[in-house]
Amino acid sequence: MSEEETRKQETYSLFPGCIAKNMYPSIEKSTYTIFEKIGVKLLNHRYSCCPAPGVFRGYDRKTHMTLGVRNIVMAAQDNVDVMTICNGCYGSLWEANEMFRKSKENQEFVNGKLAKIGLSYDGKTEVLHFVDVLHKHLEDVENAKEIDLGLKVAVHYGCHYLRPSDKHPDINPESPHVIEDVVEALGCESVDFKNKLSCCGAGGGVWSGAEELGLRVLDAKLKNVQESGADCIVNICPFCHMHLDQSQGKLEERYKIPILHLSELTGLAFGIRPKHLAMHTHLISTRDIEKKIKSAKKEKA
């Protein structure tokens, strides 16, 4: 793609990440639909796993950085920036990019390895998180909205979007207001709850390596959400999404709190039918949410 073309229409390369494309296609599908509606073009490239920051970065930083940069190169070849829909992918690729940019030694190492498979990188591509792009288009989001959802939502940021905070110099990591702005634009109320910014318990290889610990951290999170009276949890990370949705059934306490990725929530507000998003693939039923949205739609009509 030429630079001229990308200037004509805002265009990004969508980095779907393993979990969205291979386990929750509803997230991938809603992402395409909502960005088309707000006039942002998304391209596809041949990506590998980001690779996951908790697990693979714990093995070896240089391997992690090299594989991360290989992914960025795919978008760089088309002169577009990368847009992720997952905190893990965002953290991985953003950090790989920074490590590459900051050190000449790293540049030589990565480009030395990439040269052997016919690739190279100049460090000029940016890595973005989709929530920042949505936030930038808040007006377009409001214009494209068909239903004021009227839900009470518990916002879950997840860790790698907020921290380390050098990714977003203008966001206070102890009191952010980005997802809240988007859900409010969709006609939802963001409810406050105890330890709102805490971890879901899946990251750092704990989900696979020390499952019981991950479940205890999750239990604490869900307990606080339940006390807040929220209808559902809205997240911006498929890995948190998976842990919140799939591990709920492993807990003694039966919470049954529906989990929605922000893309899905936005899709529903844009009038996409839940069936077309395969919302039934969620382990925790989202039927109550869908009913509420249906009655909100009727009220409007």
């Binding site: 779907p16 393993c18 979990i19 494309k21 291979n22 386990m23 296609p25 509803s26 991938e28 599908k29 490239h45 041949r46 990506y47 590998s48 796993c49 690779p51 996951a52 920051p53 908790g54 697990v55 693979f56 970065r57 714990g58 093995y59 070896d60 930083r61 391997t63 090299t66 594989l67 290989r70 390895k113 052997k116 498979i117 016919g118 860790c159 790698h160 921290r163 380390p164 905070s165 805490s198 971890c199 318990g201 899946a202 990251g203 750092g204 290889g205 704990v206 696979s208 390596g209 020390a210 019981e212 610990l213 991950g214 205890r216 951290v217 604490a220 077309h276 998003l277 395969a278 693939t281």
Partner: protein
């Protein structure tokens, strides 16, 4: 884990690279700035339910103890709460990650076994979570291509990716250094809940 169970790095007979590497981690993550205030442990979500105490790990490393075999290293969810809140600017989470890297280089026998399968899955399929046939059919029903436009479905690109991974030799390293790791649970770690300050004194008083 106690100080007696870990050896001091400087007292160990080992290659200079390792010694240099350990000191580099201390320096890069600014561990020497630590004043042991405990804000890191205070904000740790994993620490509430397990034996991991970031302050203790940082303290042991600060004192020069080799903590490569501490299982606690693998209990961190890398949420970065501690690092964000450290008043002395210690890169605590980055230190944990670097210490994990070092543990693997040196041979970590407490490495969670399941991570060995994660790295082979990444090499073979370019994904940490591969696509299942069930999801394939759901994808086509909702109007997405049955196979995602990714590296796993691009044989030529995948071959090059595998060449790159083999060149980095990460699978070989994990299998060689961590192949003998045994399954373990975090609850196996002898966990004693922290005793509140002054509790012992009160106990002694009430005994009297």
């Amino acid at each position: 884990m106690s100080e007696a169970e870990t050896k001091k790095v400087d007292q160990m007979e080992e290659d200079p690279y390792e010694l240099e590497n350990f000191h580099k981690i201390l320096e890069d993550s600014k561990i020497l700035n630590c004043v042991q205030c405990g804000k890191c442990t205070g904000g740790c979500p994993a620490g509430r339910d397990s034996r991991i105490r970031i302050r203790e790990l940082i303290h042991l490393a600060h004192e020069g103890h080799d903590i490569k075999d501490c299982k606690e290293l693998w209990l961190c969810t890398t949420c970065y709460n501690c690092q964000e809140r450290c008043p002395k600017g210690v890169d605590t989470t980055e230190a944990i990650i670097s210490l994990r890297n070092r543990a693997i280089r040196k041979g970590d026998h407490n490495f969670p076994e399941i991570h060995v399968t994660a790295i082979t899955s990444l090499r073979d399929q370019a994904d940490g979570f591969p696509l299942s046939p069930d999801v394939e059919s759901i994808r086509s029903v909702i109007g997405l291509p049955k196979h995602p436009h990714d590296l796993a479905h691009d044989p030529e690109g995948l071959k090059k990716f595998q060449e790159l991974m083999d060149d980095l030799d990460i699978v070989g390293l994990i299998e060689k250094q961590c192949g003998d790791s045994k399954p373990w649970k975090y609850v196996d770690i002898d966990y004693k809940p922290p005793v509140a300050r002054g509790a012992k004194k009160k106990e002694a008083e009430s005994d009297e």
